[in-house]
Each structure stands twice: as structure tokens, then as C-alpha cells.
Amino acid sequence: MANITCKKVSAATKDLLDCKNPLWQTEKELIETAATPLANQPSPYIKGVYSEDKIGAVKKLWMKSVHNGESIFFYFEWESPQANMKIQDINVFADGVALLMPLKEIDKTPITEMGTKDFPTTSWYWRPDFDDKPKNQVAHGLSTSLYTEKSSIAASSKWENGKWHVVMGRTLKANKPGEETVDLAPGGKIGIGFAVWEGSNGERGGVKAFSKEWRDLVIEA
């Protein structure tokens, strides 16, 4: 799979965190996403009554990443027929997007299982009802992802004409590298994966669309 390049730009963090910044409309990367396999569902209920061809309503995700030497930003855009903003009722689910990175060696970290006990992953999880404060998560394999106590990820988002526009950003330096987050250094490279949830399709948790393979994110020096 082709690398994704995170270009260095000279712009203020505040401007890059704006999902309406015209920069985000310049060439983007297409990420193809697919239903999470039922075989990976730890819930016999989900395995028994859900069907793989109805999971993963979002098939295409466009993304772009840049950094300004201090912070790194990820922009996402995808089609969603309606904005599922918050959990107003028990049968209502919010939309969402996330990126996933290995905390250790990429070739020992299965993306389809969100890592393993010894090779965990970290993810940035955005949902409209998180008030543009995405959660940082750590997972040690399927069914184990937990929000970390603190998250230094910021975001801005808007839904317009059937499309979500979301940008998430964080300082390149991590607050707890290795444990909960990763240091992202200019000149470096890290594996990256993605997931999208379409709330109106009842998607939440492991019922989602995801990128089946790691891509390499190359961070320009």
C-alpha cells in the first residue's frame, strides 16, 4: 500500500484545527473501508444476528495529514446522509471516525484485532457528542479498548450537504509516549489505520467500517 505523506506546512495550529481551512480541500488520500468481520466479534449475539453485508455503511473516507513542526493534524471527509449528532434516544447512535496507530512494532500488531496483549494500539476517537474533544484510547486486542484518563487531542467538525468534515490535532510530542500515546517525529514513519461509524446504520463499537491494512504515514522532516 502506498505511503501517506504528512507534509510540513507553516500555518498556525489554530488555523489548521479549522475544518473549513481551504488547505483541507487540496489533494486528499482515499481510504477504502470495509465491514469489520463477524469472525472478530467477541459477542455471540452480534455474530448471530448481525450480517456482514449490512455493516460498514461508509465505504470511502478521504483524509489528509499535515504538521507544522509542533502539532500534527488529520483531516477526514466522508459521506453521511444525515448528521447523527448525539444519542438522543436509546435506539439512536452517533457518527464517528477514528485513526489507529501501533504503540510498538507494526508487523507484530494486527490491525484487524486492534493489537495484542503485548503489542497494543492507540487510537484517536472523534464523535460529534464528544464536543470536539476526541478521546484517546488504548487497546490490547479485540474488546479491550479503553479511554485514557486524559486526551490532548482537539478537533473541529461540521456536517454539510451530506458530508462530514472533521479535523483532529495534537502535539507531535506525546504526553505519555509508549504507554497511552506515541511520539510522532518529523522525519519519522508510523503505521496508521482508520475506522468510520454511520450512526443511522446502528454502527457503534466493533460494528463499523475500517481500513483492513496498515498504511505508512511518513512525516516530512
Binding site: 459477542s43 449475539y45 448471530g48
Partner: protein, 388 residues
């Protein structure tokens, strides 16, 4: 349905095994507590519901929840029409193979939202100008359902109309659909007593459990973004104090105790006398809450005389609720009742009358007033089967 045969990879087979083993562990318990409720005695006073509410569900997003509720039967219950919402299992081959059944999420209004009242308006206006009105918290709409909304409506026509009360809590099932449903392994049976609880640190509010529980007794907390349910008052059980709903019951309706210990009254009513039955056992989850079915009076015939050949509550309706075993249960109770009426003795009737209140609670007969009330200890408990 996801049954198209797919060739599984070795890793997928390995995962399937691990998942199964984990669920087996989460379902396992060394002992099982349970409750028997006598529907002949319940007067629908809702003291049990209030005891539970004041103890567990009065704040932080729990205000609209009723972990204990009392419905009028026949009725739509709460959530409205829950019996038709699916979930649970289809039991194939004599209870051996269980296939999960797709369930539906109840809505907040089907449970009955929290009501806001216009107290200020009433107090600050001239007498008679404004009347007290309730509005749903969610969207200010006028409530059209709530817990026990169809109170005392019942069925049948005068003089043969009838109704009875059905108090409901989580059944702390032996094969809980909620445990199976949770993709995060956040729901488990406690090892010591088999109470089914939701780990609030692991729950992320995905609500698969609300879909899968056929009794629809799980609630979603909109404030904390987590699912919550009856915890069988386990912090009280740990100190040998019976559940708040059971102690508060004004009519001595509820027994608490071990389902698996022959000396317990629960065991006697369920396994020896076989008069206490689970509700909708066809849902396949093996409940540990059991009911003594109502032995209602007979019908009156056209001339107004008692017709002892016809029960007031149609037997088919009771079979629908409690299965075919209800016939035997009612027969046994009638026989024992007749014995006592003729001046004889009956162990069963002695149990059901419950002269000695404290005896209803097995070993959980300690007075909560003398219970240790230390602030809860902070601590992390790792249930075997949950990997870090």
C-alpha cells in the same frame, strides 16, 4: 442471518474458541441467589420501586430508571410492549443449542421518561388558573407512557374483569443474553452469588445488551453514556442484608435466598414444591427470579353465581406468562390451600403465609440499620475472563 458457511482461517477459529471460553467464564458462578415473588399477595403499592429508586436511581442520569417496577397484568408493561421486543434465545434440541434472537431497543418514552412539573407556574398564579402538568424531560412533550401507565386496567368484562400485579427486576439469569451480547465483556455474573452486573469502567454505552435482553430491564444512562441495571443489591448481600425491594415490601411478597442450596426457601418453592416459575422461560435465559402464579377466584356465571369450573384469569394467559408448568403449580397450591381450609397442616402454605418475616431472607436477614456503613472502598476487581 449470518449463517452462510464461510471458511474460517486458523486465527478466526482460535478467536472463536477464546471468545467462547471468555463468555463461559463470565457466566460462571459458584452460587446463585434468586428471588421468589408471590403474585397472590402483591398489592401494587410500589414501595419496592420506591425503595430501589431512593437507594440506587435518584441521580446522575438514573432519574428515569426503574430497576424495580410493578406492572399491571394483562398490560403492555414497561417498556411498553416489551414482551414483543425480541432478544433472548431460540432454544433448539431440548435446551442444548441456543441461537440468539434479534432484539429491538426500547425507547426512552417507551420506558417512560422523567417528568418535569410546572410547580412554579401553579404556585405563582391565581388559584384555578393553571393546573399541574407533567412534561417529558427529553422534549417537553406530554407523557403518553410511563412505568405502570396502564395501572389497574386489566382485562375481561364486569363482573368477571380481572388484573394482577407483576413486580419486575432483572432476573439475574443463569444464561444471560446480556452477558453474551456485550462485545466488551463488561457484563458478568459475580462468582459468589451469580448476580449479573455491568462493569461501569468497561461499559462504553454501545447498548447491544439492551437489544439482547428479552426482559428489557437494562437502561441507558444518557449522562454517563453507559448502560445500567438492577444489581440485586449486591453490596447489601455482601453484608447479609436482603435487597431493598424485598425488605421494603409491605405484603411479604418476596423471598430472597440461594437457588442452589436445599435448605433455602427459594430452593423449596422452585425445586421441591415446584410452585414458583420463571416468567417467559421460552426466552431461553434461565431466570433466577420466580413467581408464584395468581390463584384468582372463579368466574361468576350469568346468574351471578360462582362457577368453580372456570377460572377468572384465563389459563391460557397464565400459560403464556409462565409456561405449561403453571397448571401443576396452581393445582398444588389449590390442594394445599384446601387442606388448610379443612383444618389440616401444609408446609407450603406456612411458607407462603410468611408469618415470620425475617425467615423470608435466608442468610440475608441482617438489619440494615446495624450494617457497616463505611464509605465504599476504592478498588479494582478483575473478574477472571477479562483480560487487561
Amino acid at each position: 442471518m449470518a449463517v452462510e458457511e464461510k471458511v474460517l482461517t486458523d486465527r478466526e477459529k482460535e478467536l472463536a474458541k477464546t471468545f467462547e471460553a471468555t463468555k463461559d467464564m463470565l457466566r460462571k458462578s459458584d452460587h446463585q441467589v434468586g428471588m421468589v415473588m408471590d403474585l397472590n399477595k402483591c398489592i401494587g403499592c410500589q414501595l419496592c420501586s420506591m425503595a430501589c429508586k431512593t437507594l440506587w436511581t435518584s441521580f446522575e442520569g438514573r432519574e428515569y430508571m426503574w430497576w424495580n417496577k410493578v406492572n399491571t397484568m394483562p398490560g403492555k408493561g414497561s417498556p411498553k410492549d416489551w414482551e414483543k421486543m425480541g432478544g433472548g434465545y431460540k432454544v433448539l434440541f431440548e435446551g442444548k443449542v441456543m441461537e440468539p434472537v434479534q432484539g429491538k431497543h426500547p425507547t426512552r418514552k417507551e420506558f417512560g421518561d422523567l417528568w418535569k412539573f410546572n410547580w412554579n407556574e401553579v404556585v405563582n398564579s391565581k388559584a384555578g388558573d393553571v393546573h399541574l402538568q407533567a412534561k417529558n424531560q427529553e422534549d417537553d412533550s406530554v407523557p403518553d407512557w410511563s412505568m405502570n401507565w396502564d395501572e389497574d386496567q386489566g382485562a375481561g368484562t364486569y363482573p368477571n374483569s380481572f388484573y394482577f400485579y407483576l413486580p419486575r427486576i432483572c432476573n439475574h439469569c443463569s444464561y444471560p443474553a446480556c452477558v453474551d451480547a456485550c462485545p466488551r465483556n463488561a457484563i458478568y455474573k459475580r462468582e459468589t452469588d451469580g448476580a449479573v452486573v455491568i462493569d461501569q469502567d468497561r461499559c462504553k454505552g454501545y447498548r447491544f445488551c439492551l437489544e439482547a435482553c428479552p426482559y428489557k430491564v437494562i437502561y441507558f444512562n444518557f449522562v454517563t453514556d453507559k448502560s445500567m441495571k438492577c444489581i440485586f443489591c449486591y453490596p447489601r448481600l455482601e453484608q447479609n442484608v436482603a435487597n431493598a425491594c424485598a425488605r421494603q415490601c409491605t405484603a411479604r411478597v418476596r423471598w430472597v435466598g440461594f437457588v442452589d442450596k436445599p435448605e433455602s426457601i427459594i430452593y423449596k418453592l422452585v425445586k421441591v414444591w415446584k410452585v414458583a416459575l420463571p416468567l417467559h422461560s421460552e426466552f431461553g435465559t434461565n431466570p433466577n427470579v420466580f413467581y408464584i402464579p395468581p390463584l384468582a377466584p372463579s368466574r361468576l356465571d350469568d346468574s351471578g353465581k360462582i362457577d368453580p369450573t372456570k377460572p377468572r384469569i384465563p389459563r391460557d394467559y397464565l400459560r403464556y406468562l409462565f409456561g405449561p408448568e403453571v397448571d401443576k403449580s396452581l393445582e398444588v397450591m389449590q390442594t394445599e390451600l384446601d387442606k388448610v381450609r379443612k383444618g389440616g397442616k401444609s408446609e407450603l402454605m406456612d411458607i407462603l403465609i410468611a408469618r415470620e418475616w425475617k425467615k423470608m431472607f435466608d442468610i440475608f436477614d441482617k438489619d440494615p440499620a446495624i450494617m457497616e456503613r463505611k464509605p465504599a472502598k476504592a478498588g479494582i476487581y478483575t473478574r477472571p475472563g477479562i483480560k487487561e
